[in-house]
Amino acid sequence: MKRVILFSMLVLLTAAAIPAVAQPPEVNVPVPTGWTAVDQEHRYDRDNLWEYINGAAEMFLTYRFRELIVADFEQGDGAITVSVYDMGRPLDAFGVFETEKPATAEVLEGVGSAAVLQAPYQGLLLKDRFYVKIEAGGGDVSAEALQGALQDVAAGLPGEGGLPPQLAALPEDGRVPGTVAYAGSNFLGFEDLSACLYADYKVTGGDEYRLFVMKPRASFLRNESGKWAQSEQEGRIRFTRTVPYSGVVVLMGDKERLIGVSGFDEIQSATELLTSLLQ
């Protein structure tokens, strides 16, 4: 029996591994001007991220998180920790940035793709596939020093500025400013709604709803969970489900792309909205 179990263990261990792939060139933490590195960089991946950030790792793993590179710097009495999260692609970096961005933070223009400052403790930066967090770890670190470090790190990271082009998939009419975001998984509290780009909308007349776009997984199209009602509507696939406390969620489209809406009481009116958008 023991032998059987041991082999079973091997299956479990091996099956959990992601096949080895050619890695892109290694990225290092850019050294902010005037700061001196303390010790060497530390690197964490999907399997040991929790060692550094404990349960906070869970959220990152719902995206395509690939690697975290951390470096400590000091300048006089001040110390900062720069954490560069390689999120695999810009859309995932955007999703994490939008999730972690405090509502009250000061927006910094012209730094990376986007940046905010929450003095006195931290600055957040988005650039290409990187999400960066700079935290004041000790001594006096001014808002100017944090901002300067953000600028230097943004300049030192590879990749393009600008926001991910996928954001254009969401219509602009009626969109509530500042609500565009991206959920790696568990969107609306459903485990089979993953990789959803979404925004809130308010149209004349008062209707409020949340619109989202996703490329469905095969398991979703097969309705493996059995939790969705599936039908065809004017030549398109339609999935519907009730959301606790929030009416219904309806998705329509094809195997490549589904557009969905939540916040309606009735399937019919949600379907009408989606039909008009798809046309």
């Binding site: 082999f7 079973s8 091997l10 099956a15 959220m59 999730t99």
Partner: protein, 464 residues
């Protein structure tokens, strides 16, 4: 969304709340079948709802709070309605941290707060003390947590993820807690630990037992499951003596899925690989090629393993990963000294699954299965989360470090990285084990044969 009104009548004439209540009764009677809500006349939409509720509450140590035996781990909460749903179904402890989503997890709980009766719930948040923050900084950060949580007080503030004995009695944290308690903003100080990490070397049980004996903490969060039973039970025993409230995390097992490449209908695991590879710039074709090669390389081992493990899985009637995970939770639930377990439940469906376990007991067959699984797991795998064997090696070989590198190599596919790390150990590597009469044999309380595993790791990491 503002447009939706939960009290609005459905076409069938019932309010949503009334409808959900009936749906719940139907679902309980119908076991696994989802309740069905008739929505628009032409279509039946499966209703989320109708799940069981929490059926057992335990006293959370000296806090005297009656805590649900299953509570909510909020590490990846992305939707506040999920929190509200948990509360409505009897969960009453919500475990979060300032670092979860950089405060977003606390924010989601805060958004649900208006739907919860504050004195009926227990809010735990955590703060990082690894960077030596001063007392005022900790107080300021805690106030930000309260703002996000939309509550005038928290029930507990934990020193987060402690793996260094020196931090157990970190004075600024203890003073900050006393100040916050005096101001009515905090009820209890607590502590959590996952075991050693990075440069912080101390084992979970060493840290938490010291914390329990210090008298500073009323509650704590620990890792406890059938694969690290003894370590967890050492902590629970002291907590019981000291009447400290205990919350359990990380009780589930690893994966149990056989990877098979079906390009048209990939499994969730294969789909995850596709997304990962494509996210790294591979085309679909390149991703297929890489996965195919990987499975070809590992195929014979998969086949042999599956053939051998099949009778075992059949004997215990294990049908899915979910089932194994649920049994793992039940294993913890049977221990009354583990007051509440807080699995990560970011979705309605995940909540439905764990709610059904409240108050249940693991069957004798289930317990036997897990015991056998645990023995096999312990005998083969160094968890590298403890340092129990450290003193047994006359050559000071860093056993758990080498085991970790072997893990990087095997499980993470980071061969070069692991080998480079191993090479940096210089002469302090496992080569010395070849000529050693192995006083380490028997040193591992979990039965891991360290010398054999070190031989294996050395071969792996040096290509010898």
């Amino acid at each position: 969304m503002a447009k939706h009104d939960p009290d609005k009548k459905h076409p069938c004439g019932m309010t949503r709340r009334g409808f959900l209540a009936v749906g719940g009764a139907v679902a309980l009677g119908a076991a696994a079948k989802p309740a069905l809500a008739r929505m628009d006349g032409d279509q039946e939409t499966p209703e989320v709802g109708g799940p069981p509720k929490i059926s057992r509450y335990r006293t959370l140590g000296r806090t005297d709070f009656k805590v649900s035996d299953i509570s909510m781990g909020c590490g990846s909460i992305a939707e506040s309605n999920v929190v509200r749903y948990a509360y409505d179904h009897g969960m009453n402890l919500f475990d979060t941290a300032e670092s979860y989503g950089n405060g977003d997890s606390e924010k989601k709980i805060g958004e649900a707060m208006e739907h919860m009766q504050r004195d009926k719930i227990f809010i735990v948040t955590k703060t990082d003390i690894s960077e030596d923050p001063d007392e005022q900084t900790l107080i300021d950060r805690f106030h930000k947590s309260l703002e996000r949580l939309k509550t005038p007080y928290a029930d507990a503030l934990y020193a987060h993820g402690i793996a260094d004995l020196k931090l157990v009695e970190y004075e600024p944290f203890l003073k900050a807690c006393e100040k916050l308690k005096a101001d009515g903003k905090l009820k209890h100080a607590g502590i959590s630990s996952h075991g050693p990490r990075g440069e912080e070397p101390d084992a979970m049980d060493t840290v938490l037992i010291k914390a329990a004996e210090s008298g500073h903490f009323d509650v704590m969060l620990l890792s406890y499951g059938f694969v690290n039973a003894e370590e967890g039970e050492r902590v629970l025993k002291v907590c019981k003596e000291k009447n400290i409230g205990t919350t359990i995390m990380k009780s589930a097992t690893g994966l149990m899925e056989m990877p098979v490449l079906d390009v048209e209908n990939p499994s969730e695991m294969i789909q995850g690989w596709f997304e990962y590879l494509e996210g790294m710039g591979n085309t679909r074709e390149q991703a297929i090629e890489r996965i195919t090669k990987y499975l070809e390389r590992e195929g014979p081992r998969f086949e042999e393993s599956l053939k051998l493990s099949k009778p075992f899985i059949e004997k215990h009637g294990i049908k899915s990963q979910d089932e194994l995970d649920m049994k793992s939770l039940q294993w913890v639930l049977r221990n009354p000294d583990a007051h509440t377990i807080c699995p990560s439940t970011p979705t309605f469906d995940a909540l439905d699954k764990v709610l059904a376990l409240s108050g249940t007991e693991l069957s004798a067959a289930g317990a036997q299965f897990l015991d056998e699984y645990a023995r096999a797991y312990e005998a083969y795998n160094c968890s590298f989360s403890c340092t129990e064997c450290a003193g047994a090696c006359p050559h000071k070989v860093p056993v758990s470090t080498i085991m970790r590198y072997a893990y990087y190599y095997r499980k993470q596919g980071r061969e070069k990285h692991a080998m480079r790390k191993y090479a940096r150990l210089g002469t302090q590597n496992a080569a010395v084990c070849l000529d050693c009469d192995a006083p380490c044999v028997g040193a591992c309380p979990y039965g891991v044969q360290a010398q054999a595993r070190l031989f294996e790791a050395h071969g792996l990491l040096t290509m010898v």
